[in-house]
């Protein structure tokens, strides 16, 4: 049973980092050999720990040695995680600061397991009620306060253990009542993982809030003369965080990391008053790892130009099913949504039986070895890769939320065949392999993904392929998609590609049927050049290294024939109004 507490909205951003990774059938020995730590240190005495670690170690030791609860079983596993965060969050518009805050936050996660690795309190969902955190809470101190930290951990441990102990008893009882062997009952197992002592040293520089505010103001100020832009906003977040993790198996991690995001949003309206939005997003580790200010300012100019173009662009009204050439950001978006959505290349947590079956997606657990994607397509995770072509990959991580170190590279799909699924220490299938991809949201994430296509080609050639394929299908034109802002498939801007001369005509507001894993079985070709795409979803960042063009067959795109009947703008935008 896990209890994650003290989560604020501001803190959620920190969960952008997939923290935990692990595999089930891989032995601890095997995983251990892959450890390639920047610095590996085993403290000789508790004096080597700082106050936070010492409090965690002492309370965990006491809990493991002394926790007993009536006639319930004692815990066999406890883990504590504390995140110590220094965050800055700034919002700016038209050169003015709307919000600016520099804040310290700490949060904790406490996990207590009762039973054993094969069968424990988390194995089944038979309990009707389970809420260990509903009563009250002792928050974790924001100072290095030894007893305060212990009290906070003690309080959560007590609640989580009591609940876990009862759950395990119920799980055992269920097994007995059903008179069924454990092998026949779908259930979650807890994988054994190698014990590590990992301390990554990194000294954070104090964030220069004034400088960050100046940057946000400078960037948002670029919209000040743009009377056609209805609304614009710059959001800059940067977090320095140290994650402390220990468990009763002996693992100890001290992992500092930084994440910075810069998002620039803008909105324009057509003459009819219809809204068109777009954005720029840059992700890095520290603010210094963002692109140079002049580069971002050029991006802003391009964003403004794009929106102005779209303002006078016609709406796409046809119905299309055929080949579509995706380029740049659009390639990243379709891989992010199709391969790593809810039922993507991650091990499922599903323990349905026929009497309680719930459809939660088309899981791939039983498809290891099967061809699931187009021939020639390769999907690898490289969670420790921090830079690619000098571009930061903020999805990267050294160790996951469960204290498991991932391999440097893991192949998920080779030549279209499913090789492995991402997993945490929780497993529901023999096909699940512990590979250290658990994040602090109790979800599984890849961190850094590289996707390549064996038969690579140039964008120019792929465009010719698009034209050829469209002609063969008797289509009047081919379609190309360059960006899918906010991953919104309901308002995609498409380019009609002439079958005669390859010229492109931009049209807006097309509705694309979202691509699934099944859609990616019909890839006609991919580019040899790579594009880095960072995607923030559900509080996590994933960095994608993808071909900068991908030709997919049989994509369905519908036009919007409905008229826009909204309100016209009656009062002029004050930006641009002469005093």
């Amino acid at each position: 049973m896990i209890n994650i507490l003290n989560l604020s909205n501001l803190y959620r951003f920190l969960f952008t980092i997939p923290l935990a990774l692990f595999s089930l059938n891989t032995s601890a020995q095997e995983l251990g050999t892959d450890l390639a730590l920047e610095e590996n240190k085993t403290p000789d005495t508790l004096s080597d720990y700082n106050v936070i670690e010492k409090a965690m170690v002492d309370e965990l030791k006491r809990s493991m040695e002394e926790l007993t609860y009536e006639d319930y079983e004692r815990p066999f596993f406890i883990s504590y995680s504390v995140n110590d965060i220094d965050g800055v969050s700034i919002t700016s518009s038209l050169g003015a600061i709307l919000y600016s805050n520099h804040f310290p936050v700490r949060n904790k996660a406490v996990r207590v397991l009762v039973g054993g690795y094969d069968f424990n309190d988390e194995s089944l969902d038979v309990a009707y009620y389970n809420d260990p955190s509903s009563l009250s809470e002792i928050q974790i101190p924001i100072e290095d306060d030894y007893y305060g930290i212990r009290r906070s951990l003690w309080f959560s441990t007590d609640a989580v253990y009591k609940s876990a102990a009862k759950l395990f008893k119920e799980n055992k009882q269920y097994l007995k009542e059903k008179n069924i062997g454990l092998k026949e009952l779908p259930h979650r197992r807890f994988a054994k993982a190698p014990v590590i002592n990992l301390e990554i040293k990194n000294k954070f520089a104090d964030p220069d809030v004034q400088q960050l505010e100046s940057l946000a103001k400078e960037l948002s100020g670029q919209f000040s003369g743009e009377s056609e832009i209805h609304h614009s906003m710059v959001t800059l977040n940067t977090f320095n965080s140290t994650n402390y993790f220990i468990n009763s198996e002996g693992t100890r991690v001290k992992y500092p990391y930084s994440i910075t995001s810069l998002q620039i949003y803008a909105e324009i309206k057509t003459e009819d008053g219809e809204s068109i939005i777009d954005q720029i997003a840059h992700f890095g580790f520290t603010p210094e790892s963002l692109p140079e200010t002049e580069v971002i300012k050029n991006d802003v100019k391009a964003l403004i130009k794009r929106l102005k173009t779209l303002k006078n662009t016609k709406v796409y009204k046809d119905s299309y099913m055929g080949p579509v050439l995706f380029v740049d950001e659009a390639v990243g978006t379709i891989f992010a949504t199709s391969l790593f959505g809810y039922d993507g290349l991650m091990a499922s947590n599903d323990i349905s039986t026929r009497d309680n079956y719930q459809y939660n997606g088309q899981f791939l657990d039983d498809k290891i070895g099967n061809k699931i994607l187009a021939r020639g397509l390769k999907v690898e995770t490289m969670p420790k890769l921090r830079y690619y072509n000098n571009l930061p990959l903020p999805g990267s991580f050294e160790v996951d939320a469960e204290g498991v170190v991932p391999r440097d590279t893991m192949t998920l799909v080779a030549d279209g065949n499913l090789v492995a699924l991402l997993n945490s220490r929780t497993s529901t299938s023999e096909n699940h392999v512990l590979n250290g991809h658990s994040n602090a949201n109790q979800a599984i994430g890849p961190g850094v993904v590289k996707i390549s296509f064996e038969k690579s080609s140039s964008v120019k050639n792929l465009k010719q392929e698009l034209i050829k394929s469209a002609k063969e299908l008797g289509l009047p034109y081919g379609l190309m998609v360059k960006r899918i802002p906010y991953g919104n498939y309901m308002g995609v801007n498409v380019y009609k590609v002439s079958l005669e001369d390859g010229s492109e005509e931009l049209l807006r507001l097309a509705q694309m049927k979202p691509l699934t894993i099944k859609s990616l079985r019909r890839i006609l070709g991919g580019s040899s050049n790579n594009y880095v795409f960072n995607n923030q979803s559900g509080g996590s960042i994933t960095s994608y290294i993808v071909p900068d063009a991908l030709l997919v067959d049989e994509v369905e795109i519908e036009g919007s024939s409905a008229p826009y009947l909204g309100n016209k703008i009656l009062v002029e935008n004050p930006v641009g109004v002469k005093e």
Binding site: G95, A96, L135, I138, E143, Y147, G148, W154, V575
Partner: protein, 568 residues
């Protein structure tokens, strides 16, 4: 003391100067004028627009068992705007009968309108422009519905204006010092740690925390009628709370709160530590107290409990806007000039009252959130209902606002309470109240009556969709035995009932008044309120069992020992 003087001077000085020194107000005025002029060309031109900006700086520090768990600073400027289409007699806020559409049903303001922290004219104006556009579009849609319903079918309601006509006001207060000059944050961090550390002395406590929340608000208001207001307010709110686990698994909480305009006027550390020790003593007694059974019979509500009791059962039913809605129970709509309470009782709402005794009142303000001066309103005079708490949404016979239109930042205004004062012209001493209680208990054949000594808060329903009940949540309740046995502390009691029945049962009030300071939540958000009441003797109340927890004692001892000296 010097700081306090400056604060009061700022708050209540009148500087009626038409030429504003406030840059933000000037920018708001320019955009307001431009919008109003531009929209006059529209098919449905607005007849009224207002802008309200809540510039709020907050500092919150909190500690648990001697450990600092939060020290947070924040500042935001939130815009709320109203655009009215039609005219004062019939506009987009008119309630359309039986649809729920109208004043209560037309939704919230644009809560995402965040203004720049500095006075960047362009950025401020674009935000105002966008918010005005959105509100204007909403107003047109609402107005069309209103017109269609009133023209085609008639809504069957009496002719009451939708918006009151008020005299424009100009009131500009000079700026206050920055929040950092009004509070020493580091000193308060230490203070909450020191005070909360005393909870360590009892090993049975589940929680023990102390927090201070200090906010400085600068409110800007401007409308197309010519009203321009800039006013300041500060709130220093402190809370002490702890809970203890009873033998049967119930978790028993106690709370104590303090309010002053400035942190420097809150109780000193020694006084707070004394209160913590008293709270722990009470919790220990509460732990041993028996669970109470449901009861119907006589009771005394001590002054603070009586304040919450009146706020819930009475205060929410005199808020004028509710009485206008056909979705509301309208308890008092037809009872003007009728006796609704014991004739010894008078009920007043007075936002202009800044202190009672020597204590600051949280429900005070100079102008409400519609730019109308907060006025003293005698709601009930010697038991006779005379008036309601009015915003600018008129009622028949109550066509003007009396300055009770309130809302939290980003939400639309409705009529709300401020400082609610309950007075008796025949107050009884505590001894005589007790005698009345015992006499009535004997008459009703009761072994004991109840004394509600303290409460945490309460809630009530006034609409027609659910029972019009109230629930007051006591934390300290005693049985008062008729045979002279000592009062017995009990636990697990909620005070419940229905309003009209309860009003008739209030039979006497005490001499000493006390203040309950609270934050009242309703459709226009959370607003600070106080209730100043004497103890009340009620001939018959009803209680029900409080929801009970089933927690188990902690399996291991709480780390950190029992004395503040060993917490670090």
């Amino acid at each position: 003391m010097k700081q306090r003087f400056i604060f009061l001077l700022l708050m209540f000085s009148f500087i009626n100067n038409a030429i504003s020194q406030e840059v933000l107000l000037d920018i708001m005025g320019e955009e307001l004028e431009r919008e109003m002029q531009s929209l006059q060309k529209a098919e449905f031109p607005p007849y009224f627009i207002d802008y309200r900006v809540d510039d709020v700086s907050d500092i919150t520090v909190s500690a648990s068992f001697g450990s600092l768990t939060q020290s947070h600073n924040d500042r935001s400027r939130v815009l709320t705007t109203n655009v009215k289409v039609g005219d004062y007699t019939l506009d987009n806020t008119h309630e359309v009968a039986a649809t729920g559409y109208g004043y209560n049903g037309n939704g919230f303001a644009n809560i995402n309108a965040i203004l720049p922290l500095d006075d960047n004219a362009l950025a401020v104006k674009q935000t105002l422009w966008r918010a005005t556009t959105t509100e204007y579009e909403n107003a047109i849609e609402a107005y069309k519905i209103v017109k269609n319903n009133t023209q085609v079918e008639g809504d069957g309601k009496k002719e009451v204006d939708d918006f009151s006509r008020e005299v424009p006001v100009v009131h500009i207060e000079p700026s206050m010092p920055a929040i950092s000059e009004l509070i020493d944050q580091e000193k308060w961090e230490q203070k909450v740690k020191n005070v909360s550390a005393y909870f360590l002395n009892n090993p049975h406590l589940s929680t023990g925390s102390v927090s201070l929340s200090f906010s400085k608000e600068k409110k800007y208001y401007i409308n197309t009628e010519g009203t321009k207001i800039v006013q300041n307010m500060t709130y220093a709110h402190m809370n002490i709370s702890a809970s203890i686990l009873a033998e049967d698994g119930d978790i028993l909480p106690l709370y104590k709160s303090y309010f002053a305009f400035l942190p420097s006027d809150l109780p000193n550390e020694d006084s707070l530590i004394s209160d913590v020790k008293l709270m722990v003593e009470k919790l220990i007694k509460l732990r041993e107290a028996p669970l109470a059974e449901p009861y119907s019979g006589p009771a005394i509500l001590d002054a603070r409990s009586a304040g919450v009791f009146f706020h819930e059962i009475f205060g929410h039913r005199i808020e004028g806007h509710r009485l206008k809605s056909e979705m509301d129970g309208q308890t008092f709509l037809s009872k003007v000039d009728a006796q609704v309470l014991d004739k010894s009782l008078t009920v007043i709402s007075d936002p202009s009252l800044t202190q009672y005794g020597n204590r600051d009142l949280i429900g005070t303000y100079k102008y409400d959130d519609e730019g109308v001066e907060g006025q003293k309103v005698v709601v009930v005079e010697n038991g006779i209902l005379r008036n309601f708490l009015m915003s600018r949404s008129p009622l028949e016979k109550f066509i003007r606002s009396n300055g009770h239109g309130r809302a939290s930042a980003g939400l639309n205004v409705v009529s709300r309470q401020s400082n609610l004062i309950i007075e008796s012209n025949k107050p009884l001493s505590a001894t005589n109240l007790r005698k009345k209680l015992i006499k009535e208990c004997k008459k009703q054949g009761k072994e004991y009556g109840y004394l509600f000594s303290d409460v945490i808060g309460g809630f009530t329903n006034t609409d027609r969709f659910s029972a019009n009940v109230f629930n007051v949540m006591p934390t300290e309740v005693y049985r008062v035995y008729v045979d002279g046995r000592p009062d017995q502390l009990v636990r697990g009691v909620d005070l419940i009932g229905t309003p009209l029945t309860m009003f008739a049962e209030i039979k006497a009030a005490g001499e000493q008044k006390e203040i309950f300071t609270g934050i009242c939540g309703a459709e226009s958000g959370n607003v600070p309120v106080s209730a100043i009441a004497p103890a009340l003797y009620v001939r018959r109340i009803e209680t029900q069992k409080k929801m009970k927890q089933n927690a188990k004692p902690s399996l291991l001892s709480r780390p950190g020992g029992s004395s503040p000296s060993i917490t670090k």
